[in-house]
Amino acid sequence: MSAHEQFADDLALYAVDALTGEDRAAMETHLAGCSACRLELEQLRGDGALLALSTLGPKPPQRARQRLLDAVAKEPRVPVKLVETKSRRSWWGILGWAATAAVVVFAASLWKENAALKQTLASANAQATESARELEDIRRIAAPIIEPEAQVVTVVALKAQPQPGGKAFYLRKRGSLVFLATNMPPLPPNKAYELWLIPMQGAPMAAGIFKPDAHGRGTVINPPLPPGAEAKTFAITVENEAGASTPTMPIVMMGAGE
């Protein structure tokens, strides 16, 4: 597979940000649907990087190093913990309640859609700008649940003990799923919880593995699921860490659509 020759010149311009206006929009439209040209674009950017790497000059002043380290010291980062699910990133491991989780679903869907957009769909410049603006809005709104520093409090009825629970947010048409669990009991060694999509017809589909953290929280974000699978409900079983192809009884949790 090779890049399209008719786009070769414009692709090179695009790689060095020298393509503007309608030509740029047309190129982005083409790139959205052409993996060969996207690959060539990466190569061309690599070629451009040679130009950048060729620059020689004086070393930066010593104060620049200290200035950077001072700035970094003011922004300590919580170490990124490895995800305890098989499917995605750890900063999602903070549980919100339904409303905020819905935002997460929407954000996850938009991100997924955004990625898909780049790969498969053409879009005009105006649409891209609008998507970026929306994504920024969503990131801002979702910040309280995606920032590692966020405080998470589970509210329950007075004198009640928190019960294990979970919420699955599923967009069938996109095959997008976000599952957030709370108060999950600790697991035996080498075991994990596995989420299952129980379809209207056919066998249960594996929908992600997770291990709860020290607070009993666990997440599954966008496991590989075929778009369009209609979910009757979701269920959780305890499986070996590697997961299973069919659920091992007993089912420890089961839900129903809301």
């Binding site: 020298a18 130009l51 620059t55 000059g57 070393k59 170490p79």
Partner: protein, 168 residues
Amino acid sequence: MVTALKAGDQSAVAQLYDRYSSVVYAVALRVLGDTGAAEDVLQEVFLQLWRNPAAFDAARGTLGSWLAVIARNRAIDFLRKRRPETDLEDVIVSVSPDLAREADRSRAAEKVRSVIGAMPPPQRSALEMAYFEGLSHSEIAGKTGEPLGTIKTRIRTGLMILRKAFQT
């Protein structure tokens, strides 16, 4: 070191800075021609890496090349007084040597300069105006009085010549 960075290890920033700051600063200075502004870009590039180390995908390129391209992009943004046009995550740079060691970088830089020096002056000029001055193809055409198609071809073939030089 990138792993340490992802783990929030501040000392990794210092190590990466020691390794790559000279190339980041050199690129920014080449574009901006101003030491203060270049220092600001240098700061921003490494702070962005600290804040979002996952933006660099080691499977899709080398850190040295990636930082150089990010520095170039940010410097052009700075030059044009515009907001960053490209997200860090969207910058994927295939191939290119990493050149973590300064001696290797010097040798590669010498080779690139040699290749560029051997190009016809109009081609070299078009390539450098696009890459280091952030000019669009129509702006270059306007400046040089050359047809748009000629400028396009010069930039593309210039990049191809560079590629071939590092493939052999």
